[in-house]
Homo-oligomer: 155 residues x 4
Amino acid sequence: PEKDGLIHGLSVAELQTLCEKCVKAKATAYCPYSLFRVGASLLLHPSSSNGASPHVVTGANVENASYPVGTCAERVAMGNAVVSGHKLGSFKAVGVATDMDDFCSPCGMCRQFLREFLELHVPIFMFTKEGKFIVRTMGELLPLSFGPDKLPPRE
Amino acid sequence: PEKDGLIHGLSVAELQTLCEKCVKAKATAYCPYSLFRVGASLLLHPSSSNGASPHVVTGANVENASYPVGTCAERVAMGNAVVSGHKLGSFKAVGVATDMDDFCSPCGMCRQFLREFLELHVPIFMFTKEGKFIVRTMGELLPLSFGPDKLPPRE
Amino acid sequence: PEKDGLIHGLSVAELQTLCEKCVKAKATAYCPYSLFRVGASLLLHPSSSNGASPHVVTGANVENASYPVGTCAERVAMGNAVVSGHKLGSFKAVGVATDMDDFCSPCGMCRQFLREFLELHVPIFMFTKEGKFIVRTMGELLPLSFGPDKLPPRE
Amino acid sequence: PEKDGLIHGLSVAELQTLCEKCVKAKATAYCPYSLFRVGASLLLHPSSSNGASPHVVTGANVENASYPVGTCAERVAMGNAVVSGHKLGSFKAVGVATDMDDFCSPCGMCRQFLREFLELHVPIFMFTKEGKFIVRTMGELLPLSFGPDKLPPRE
Ligand SMILES: [Zn+2]
Ligand SMILES: [Zn+2]
Ligand SMILES: [Zn+2]
Ligand SMILES: [Zn+2]
């Protein structure tokens, strides 16, 4: 889906920034148990980034001796973004990078976490070690998702 | 996909059992925080069920005062099944029931948990309060999934 | 604390059953990622076990390719117990077994999960590979705990 | 434990900053499901904070429609700190604030997450709505903890 010189809505510069940032974030991973480094980057809409040139929030996986207690790159990045004031409507794209030759997608838990803050059309770019990518929208990665609209409202 | 009188590979009796069991399991939920009851049922292949007529393992959501520490119906059911000796190849179908008028799908975390033990073609039936259902395969609910094959093997 | 021939309130037969059951449960672990097997056993009060001789519910760890999505032995056991109808007041003791020479305690996440259903005086026995044990109460393992009483009630 | 004019090793100014920062972070919580706001602050040792006057990393809880997928203030703060380069030895104290009249402690999952990066003597200050506090060390909140030293090393 290339249109008007954009790739899934991103300019070439934005896509390159998204890629560079998640690759760089990968180096900050704490993963002594899996040795599987992951970096994630969240591209903000210009209106959400206070005018700065492509603004990106990043994260990496942070593991724990009790494996289920650790967290993934995508959730560290999005947690950071949300407490920094960003929210549904703020995000233009997501990038994920690993050390694999093949494309790696966010785990189901991260898809669910991201779903709370990403519109269904937001593209998620998965980069290989070589910088190649595949892309899927939030809605494609978590079809029929269980989102905020499914829970009875709290009074 | 009805074929040879089967619905996604299940006989009418199996589908009815799957539905009844997850509806019944729903009543065992511990959910004082969300008040959102969910029941799950896992239909075993005859060969995995020791000859008993349609064998099903069930679960319900078990919440916690610290919300992130609670767990979902699907994971209680599958955890129970796995420590009972069932594994990849043992499962024929999954059922999920809630009190909603609309269909409710497993959350992303549960899709990821199930993925470890379900083949991609296994159907997941989502039942409404009225007993109507929609069905999607494991592969459809978690496309491009991050599964056991993605991790470097442990020596 | 031995009193009236009881060890933390358990008879020798009960303690032996508790130990045997968590050691046996350990063999059912699915842990290809950590290779760290854990078994857990929950001893029910006679009144909660329908008159059967020492009734115990067990579990083992069930891991996932996405490490944070996996679950621990203690939570599998307690999830199973709760959906089987047991609740706060049903449990007399907990046992945990690993393959370590040293004592291994439940992780913090499991302490929190257990806290919802265990009274603070309930003893948790941690067994080594050799069958030696140390014991701490729920309250000792999670002091100043954040429990159900801390959350504003849901209307 | 007041000594040399320090409160658990903190100067009055540091303690005040720690308190202000977690109270302020609380306002950034995303908690439409629990309506229970929590803020967390991590005070860095001067050597870890690049010379800046009391350097603090903060976080707040970020919930999800699927409750178990959400995360707590303490983990958002620590995840952010770790990917920013801080690690075991970098942290001098932790602060936690809620809207409760009573003191609220970190949940067991957060105690486990923090344990990976905090020395056992690090103080954790729990502030009430009124700014009063109680304090416990990491080791006191998670006795007999299951930490990095318990897992067989990965080759
Ligand atoms: Zn993930
Ligand atoms: Zn779920
Ligand atoms: Zn645990
Ligand atoms: Zn917590």
